[in-house]
């Protein structure tokens, strides 16, 4: 090829490539670019509802920047708050607002980056699709223990609840059950994912799970006529909502700050929406 031909060819390819890069990667490049040049580990633990978003964010970040490492653990909101307060992790997620006591004791800074709901779920094979608050309270207290009492099959109700560290449980207990009793005979599962798996596998189960986690494997139950979905939580019609918080001890700095900023960026909020939550922006 002649020199002229080669340089023309070269220039055209470079132009095309540049156009492609500009056209395709603008949003991603902008929101992730603060991570460039940074190195280190971000330790995250706590709320299990947050985990899908954390995992997706970690994947995007770690795929672009191999010097950044992010470890993600669950444990529940209580664990997240304690661990970040004790300095065992950098970011402690919680599915409930930390109490004033926790905020002062641990000097917490809270960042609410999404809104989520907590809804009742049953197995898709269950014909019961709607319950009143009174029925729900009775079921969880253990006084109603057969599905036929609420219009279902003549089978015992298998209760599933969360462990005491759970923010999801705390929100459900306060807002849906009015701080009523949860039977000690209920099966205890340790995360939103576990609740979903348990209810999906047991035809006579009832439990409560984050609205963002609901998919075809479980069936949401309308509470007082309102079905817990993304739309009803957004509009405020479904009352049992909670914010998804990421908490740090003191003001976040360095890599942690970059990550928190990323959660509020367009990409980050897009991830939250993709996983079934309501972005705050």
């Amino acid at each position: 090829m002649t020199r002229i031909g080669r340089s023309l060819y070269g220039r055209i390819s470079i132009s095309i490539l540049t156009l492609l890069l500009i056209g395709v990667a603008p949003a991603v490049a902008d929101d992730l670019s603060p991570f460039a040049g940074q190195a280190g580990t971000i330790k995250i633990s706590g709320g299990t509802a947050h985990i899908p978003v954390m995992k997706a964010a970690a994947k995007q970040i770690m795929q672009r920047f191999s010097d950044v490492r992010i470890t993600i653990a669950g444990g529940g909101s209580g664990v997240g708050i304690k661990q970040v307060g004790e300095g065992l992790v950098d970011i402690g997620n919680s599915g409930r607002k930390p109490t004033d006591e926790e905020i002062t004791k641990y000097d917490l800074k809270m960042f609410k980056w999404a809104i989520d709901g907590v809804g009742l779920v049953v197995n898709p094979k269950n014909t019961v699709a709607s319950l009143t608050t009174a029925q729900t309270k009775a079921i969880f207290a253990g006084s109603i223990h057969n599905w036929k009492a609420v219009g279902g099959a003549d089978k015992a109700i298998n209760l599933y609840t969360r462990d005491t560290a759970s923010g999801t449980r705390s929100v459900f207990w306060k807002k849906a059950l009015g701080k009523g009793e949860i039977s000690a005979k209920a099966n205890v599962v340790v995360s939103n994912g576990a609740m979903k798996a348990a209810v999906a596998n047991d035809p006579y189960a009832i439990g409560y799970v984050s609205v963002g986690h609901m998919d075809e494997s479980v069936q949401p139950v309308a509470l007082d006529g309102v079905t817990p979905t993304l739309e009803t939580v957004k509009s405020g019609e479904y009352k049992i909502a909670r914010g998804l918080y990421s908490n740090t001890k003191g003001e976040p700095t360095g890599l942690t700050k970059t990550f928190i900023d990323f959660l509020f960026s367009e990409t980050g909020q897009g991830l939250a929406a993709a996983k079934g939550f309501i972005p705050v922006k």
Binding site: A58, M62, T71, A73
Partner: protein, 295 residues
């Protein structure tokens, strides 16, 4: 006749037991293998990352069990590496140097250590980590190092016991020949007794490796997490195969993840089967080969 009847019943019961046991295990393992056989492929380990990049640690793996496998390997290596010297040394001491009273007392302690539920060792590791975190350095958290140490404590009694038993069971004439030729006690131990006990000691090491690879209770409390990639340092969180299997079974997000769980279970089973075959091989062939060359 009454005796005949009794005979038949007992024999039937014995055969029934054997049958029930074999059938249960066959069902459990067969279920896992049939469900999970389809998942065994590079994609199980590496997800959508290029295998070579993942192996050279250039790229992280998502949706694959490679990080968990690496975590388990590191854990086993560290734990066994720490436990073997101490365990074998203690075993030698117990078999060769300890006075009868000491032997009895120490033996009691080691048996207790062997019997401690693994969750307690995990609780100890967790509490120790928190204690060190508060009083020594804020850098110390439940991590790879703490887990490895706790696992080392867990398998220590196995190593002690196998070393001690093998040494004690050596025939008397083996013990007598070297001193008869003028060897000192140390020389006898290191040049005669230990080489003769090699197969037993190596079996103990393999047993420890298996124990470290499969343990979940200890690592659950001392630093394993659901997502960590390849651990960056000894003080970081890590993933491990048994914990991966446990997490998937409790909270799989979709069918793909569930299938990866089956695959991971098969991989872990394969590792344990391999170790089992290795032990059998060593017991039958290797010791002779090492000591005396080909026969």
């Amino acid at each position: 006749m009454k005796a005949r009847c009794c005979d038949k019943l007992v024999t039937a019961w014995a055969w029934l037991s054997g049958l029930v046991l074999t059938a249960s295990i066959a069902t459990l393992l067969g279920f896992l293998l049939t469900k999970g056989a389809g998942t065994l492929s590079p994609a199980l380990f590496f997800g959508d990352t290029v295998p070579l990049d993942a192996l050279l640690l250039k790229r992280q793996v998502f949706e694959g069990i490679f990080p968990a496998t690496v975590g388990t390997l590191l854990l086993v290596g560290l734990a066994v590496g720490m436990a073997v010297p101490v365990g074998i040394a203690t075993g030698i001491y117990m078999a060769e140097f300890a006075a009868p009273r000491t032997k009895a007392v120490f033996g009691l302690f080691f048996d207790i250590l062997a019997g401690i539920p693994s969750i307690l060792v995990g609780l100890f590791g967790f509490s120790a980590a928190i204690f060190l975190h508060h009083h020594f350095s804020g850098q110390i958290t439940p991590c790879l190092l703490i887990s490895a140490l706790s696992l080392a404590f867990l398998v220590l009694p196995y190593l002690i016991r196998t070393t001690q038993t093998t040494l004690e069971n050596l025939p008397r004439h083996v013990r007598m020949t070297a001193p008869a030729l003028g060897a000192s006690k140390l020389q006898t131990i290191f040049y005669v007794l230990l080489p003769q006990s090699l197969s037993g000691i190596v079996s103990g090491i393999i047993l420890s490796i298996g124990r470290c690879a499969e343990d979940t209770a200890v690592i659950m409390l001392t630093g394993v997490v659901a997502t960590a990639g390849i651990p960056a340092s000894l003080l970081s969180g890590y993933e491990a195969l048994p914990f991966y299997i446990y997490t998937v079974s409790a909270q799989y997000a979709d069918q793909a993840e569930l299938m990866r769980g089956y695959g991971a279970a098969i991989v872990l089973l394969a590792v344990c089967a391999l170790l089992f075959a290795l032990t059998a091989f060593i017991r039958h062939r290797l010791a002779d080969h090492l000591l005396y060359g080909a026969r």
